[in-house]
């Protein structure tokens, strides 16, 4: 138990500082660690835990809460979440003060411009990894594409899209 908690802290503490572009763009890295190298979850379980974390209200860091809870109960959930948010949070508090001081500096604008394409690529890659894990047939692929278009082009509440997806699974899966 203690071993698992230490491992969770180390894994998510490391991922916390690598999670540039947010949790979604770090999903491939989380999946590589949890699914591919440690076999704590199957690919299907991983995408389903991700879906559950999306169905609950709150930030998408909740995927780490679920992985922690899956491995070591409520304590594991809390430890994994803290490990995921604390290193990055401490860093952001420090950097936001420096950032504020150099608001108009040229180097700051260069860094900002350089990070934009990287952020876009990482988020698209996260979507690519999730799509590949979740879509195991024609109906599910079509569901993903339809939801993607609606999320991209309309202002429908995400809850409708998630509920609709679950309904499609229920109706067409049985």
């Amino acid at each position: 138990m203690t071993n698992i908690l230490v491992t969770l802290t180390l894994i998510f503490g490391k991922l916390s500082l690598l999670a540039v572009g947010g949790i979604n763009s770090t999903l491939p890295e989380i999946a590589a660690e949890i699914v591919t190298s440690r076999h704590w979850l199957s690919p299907a379980q991983f995408s389903q835990l991700y879906a559950i974390s999306n169905a609950a209200p709150g930030p998408n860091v909740l995927i780490t809460t679920l992985i922690g809870a899956h491995m070591a109960g409520v304590t594991g959930g809390i430890i994994a979440t803290l490990a995921m948010i604390l290193p990055a949070g401490i860093l952001v508090v420090i950097v936001s003060q420096v950032w504020e001081t150099y608001r108009e500096a040229r180097w700051r604008r260069i860094i900002q411009a350089a990070l934009l394409p990287v952020t876009a690529g990482l988020i698209l890659a996260a979507a690519g990894v999730l799509v590949r894990q979740a879509d195991t047939g024609f109906t599910l692929t079509a569901t993903t594409l339809l939801v993607a278009i609606l999320a991209w082009r309309s202002n429908l509440h995400p809850l409708w899209l998630l509920g609709g997806g679950a309904l499609v699974g229920l109706i067409l899966g049985t």
Binding site: V20, P28, S47, A51, P57, T65, V74, T144, L159, T174
Partner: protein, 187 residues
């Protein structure tokens, strides 16, 4: 007569721990499928903690820093008003209730998740969630791709992660220097 002195930018009122906690709590518990839209509305429109410009500025930083964007935002706003304990109040408000809810959902999944009915619903839910991320990614990429120079770099990152299976740090080590070089030349 001299011109009136420029109006001093109003000093934002210092928020209390309770205000930070309840503000982020209210955004967290109704933030289905992402907290950013409701958090922005709460901070800028409803409670007027920050102007839209100041919010965008801080949020862009939180996006570029590692970690969950909205959690980072709670850290930064909390610390700005009440130091370390303010950051704790904001983050606890944002996360405590959603963590409890998601662990209950996770327990229900562990108990009933293997039932065929639940399996079908969850497969559909996962497909929809993947679609949500794809749609959001397109929304975020849209304005970034308005600058054509960004497209090849983004596609390179995408390909390195999805097809070459490089880890994030290695991908960043390869792409960020190139991107910095190009941005510096363009600036």
């Amino acid at each position: 007569m001299t011109n009136a002195p420029p109006a001093p930018s109003p000093e934002p009122p210092r928020l209390s721990h309770a205000q930070l906690f309840t503000g982020f709590l209210s955004a967290g518990v109704i933030g289905f499928g992402g907290v950013l839209p409701v958090a922005r509305r709460m901070i800028v429109d409803e409670k007027r903690w920050m102007s839209q410009v100041a919010f965008n500025d801080l949020f862009s930083l939180c996006q570029f820093m590692p970690g969950a964007n909205i959690v980072n935002l709670a850290f930064a706003i909390g610390a700005r008003h009440q130091g370390v304990s303010g950051a704790a109040a904001a983050v606890l408000g944002l996360l405590a209730a959603p963590m409890a809810i998601v662990m209950l959902l996770g327990a229900a999944y562990a108990r009933f998740g293997t039932l065929p009915l639940a399996q079908h619903a969850l497969a559909g839910l996962a497909a929809a969630a993947a679609g949500l991320v794809l749609g959001t990614a397109l929304r975020i990429a849209g304005p970034i791709f308005a600058n054509r120079r960004n497209i090849p770099l983004s596609l390179a990152v995408f390909a390195l992660v999805v097809f070459v299976h490089l880890s994030l740090p290695v991908t960043m080590l390869i792409v960020v220097p190139v991107s910095l070089f190009l941005a510096r030349r363009a600036a």
